[in-house]
């Protein structure tokens, strides 16, 4: 894109591009095989939100999500990427419907996987009812697609994290990859603090936020199966690895998930802090986990071995 990049390979460029920092479009461009991405309902179609003008707010031509198809190591994939900087990546009517339509097509075809690059604060306030319902439709569409044999992989490492209904959609996916700055939760830190007080949750204590909701904790809990370095190439490799790992969906998955979550409650339900959970998982000096470099952390997480594979 700029002079320093002109003479390097796409993989090198993807490796040197922070997933956290990149735009939705850049993420897709670098995640997929070079030049393979084709967008559905691109910005030139100007399918903007019909609701933001009620609030005198600026629109974005793609309503904050880019959907389309491309190739990953030569194989076709459907992709959706949220732009976390536009309205916090939140789900509105148009934004959500693009993803719903993509998933419905994937279900009908049945063999082409879907990658969802989450970057969202959840429901878009200004169209809360439409956004909430869009999320419900997407959750349903993900499950119908999975039931039809489609693998749906979530990649989480954007600046808005994966909050609210986004967290629920992520929970419906076949597998997740997350990076250290990625966050997965339902209620945001500020929402908890506002509703329950700063004693319950100090949203400005960012170390607390990340060890409660961040990528490392989610990986150690087994909520995400792959921990990616914060660069697009690593997410690409994570997506490829997960596509290999994921098996067919069925009732036994849900039973295994029930057991997996029940086991989590039994083991860690009384823990007051992530450090307590990590200690209970058998990690020595658990308080140093946030400081561990990614490679060491990956080795640690692999050794602890908690995963949601075949149990989600």
């Amino acid at each position: 894109m700029t002079a320093p990049f002109r003479d390097i390979t796409p993989a090198e460029r993807a490796r040197s591009t922070s997933f956290y920092e990149a735009s939705a479009r850049t993420r897709l461009e670098l995640l997929l095989d070079a030049g393979s991405f084709v967008e559905f309902i691109g910005p030139e179609q100007r399918e903007i939100s019909p609701h933001l003008n009620i609030f005198d707010l600026p629109e974005q031509f793609d309503d904050g999500i880019v959907v389309g198809h491309g190739r990953l190591d030569g194989a076709p994939v459907f992709v959706a990427a949220q732009e976390g900087r536009f309205m916090g990546g939140a789900f509105g009517e148009v934004h959500g419907a693009k993803l719903t339509g993509l998933l419905r097509a994937a279900r009908e075809i049945g063999r082409i996987p879907v990658l969802i690059l989450f970057d969202t604060g959840g429901v878009r306030l200004q169209e809360a009812n439409a956004g909430e319902l869009a999320i419900a439709e997407i959750m349903r569409a993900v499950m119908e697609a999975r039931a039809a044999g489609v693998k749906v992989i979530g990649l989480i490492g954007g600046r808005s994290g994966c909050y609210g209904g986004g967290g629920l959609i992520a929970g419906c996916c076949s597998a997740l990859a997350v990076s250290e700055p990625g966050r997965i939760a339902v209620s945001g830190p500020e929402v908890i603090e506002t509703n329950r007080g700063v004693e319950e949750f100090d949203s400005r204590d960012r170390a607390l936020v990340w060890r409660t909701m961040g990528g490392k904790h989610r990986r150690l809990l087994g909520a995400a199966d792959v921990f990616a370095h914060d660069n697009v190439q690593d997410f690409r490799e994570a997506a490829l690895a997960l596509l290999d790992l994921v098996g067919p969906f069925g009732l036994e998955r849900l039973k295994a998930e029930q057991e997996r979550l029940a086991d989590r409650l039994r083991r860690y339900g009384a823990c007051l802090d992530a450090v307590d959970i990590w200690t209970a998982e058998g990690i020595a000096h658990a308080e140093t986990v946030p400081e561990l470099p990614a490679d060491q952390f990956i080795a640690l997480a692999d050794r602890i071995g908690r995963t949601s594979r075949d149990a989600r």
Partner: protein
């Protein structure tokens, strides 16, 4: 209507639905003699990891051993907002509940949600909005986002928000708004027997396909969703 009123009117022949700290678990017998799994959230209880897991466990058990439709009663708070719930991965527990409900519905156990009180945000997604048909009762008061919180974030006055809410169902709380969006399929009457209305619904269940976007368009609440989803679907199908 209170929970007892609702249950009595739904199941005049009796039911075995217990309310354990806001978590509803049990079953009831329909007039046809068939049994129905009944579960849900009552007393405006927040849906946290513990509640969600109990509910999903009940559905899974019923998938193994039972049959017939599943009824999800909803009078909840939002998801439980707490450090502990998020620490333990509340999103997984809520989506797991939604997933087992969707799975049941797709596999011969049609699901009906009955929203008779409050609900919001993640709790609504994991319960009522994860059923095939969501029914509202008059007096139900769902609120995806309450107006005071919204006023705070948008820095608009309550008056201004209420004024805007008159012209669009897209953001303000309320059953009729959600109905117009296509989220609530139908609103029952509370002056006639709920059992009759349930029976009528069961006799004429809509197809398993999610048509809420089409419904929203027909009702003038969501004019773009159905068309956009359909266009993306067509483009994606054309690509392969």
């Amino acid at each position: 209507m209170t929970l007892d009123d609702v249950l009595t009117s739904l199941f005049p022949d009796g039911h075995e639905v217990r309310n354990d700290k806001g978590v509803l678990l049990g079953s009831a017998t329909l007039r046809s003699g068939a049994s129905m799994l009944v579960l849900g959230v009552a007393d405006r209880t927040a849906l946290g990891v513990d509640e969600a897991l109990r509910l999903s466990g009940q559905v899974l058990k019923s998938i193994d051993r039972g049959q017939g439709p599943i009824l999800v009663l909803v009078d909840s708070d939002s998801q439980r907002m707490s450090k502990r719930d998020e620490l333990l991965g509340l999103n997984e527990f809520l989506s797991h509940l939604a997933k087992v409900l969707i799975h049941a519905d797709l596999n011969g156990r049609p699901t009906i949600g009955l929203l008779y009180g409050h609900s919001a945000a993640g709790a609504l997604l994991a319960t009522g909005l994860a059923t095939r048909v969501l029914v509202g009762l008059p007096g139900a008061a769902p609120a995806v986002m309450d107006l005071p919180s919204m006023a705070k974030v948008t820095k608009l006055s309550m008056d201004a928000l209420e004024e805007k809410a008159k012209s669009t169902p897209v953001f303000a709380p309320g059953l009729s708004n959600l109905a117009q969006m296509g989220a609530v399929h139908l609103t029952w009457s509370n002056t006639i027997s709920l059992a009759d209305q349930l029976e009528a619904l069961l006799a004429d269940m809509p197809a398993v396909q999610d048509r809420r976007d089409v419904l929203g368009k027909e009702r003038g609440g969501r004019l773009k969703a159905a068309e956009i989803a359909e266009r993306v679907r067509d483009l994606a199908l054309q690509a392969y």
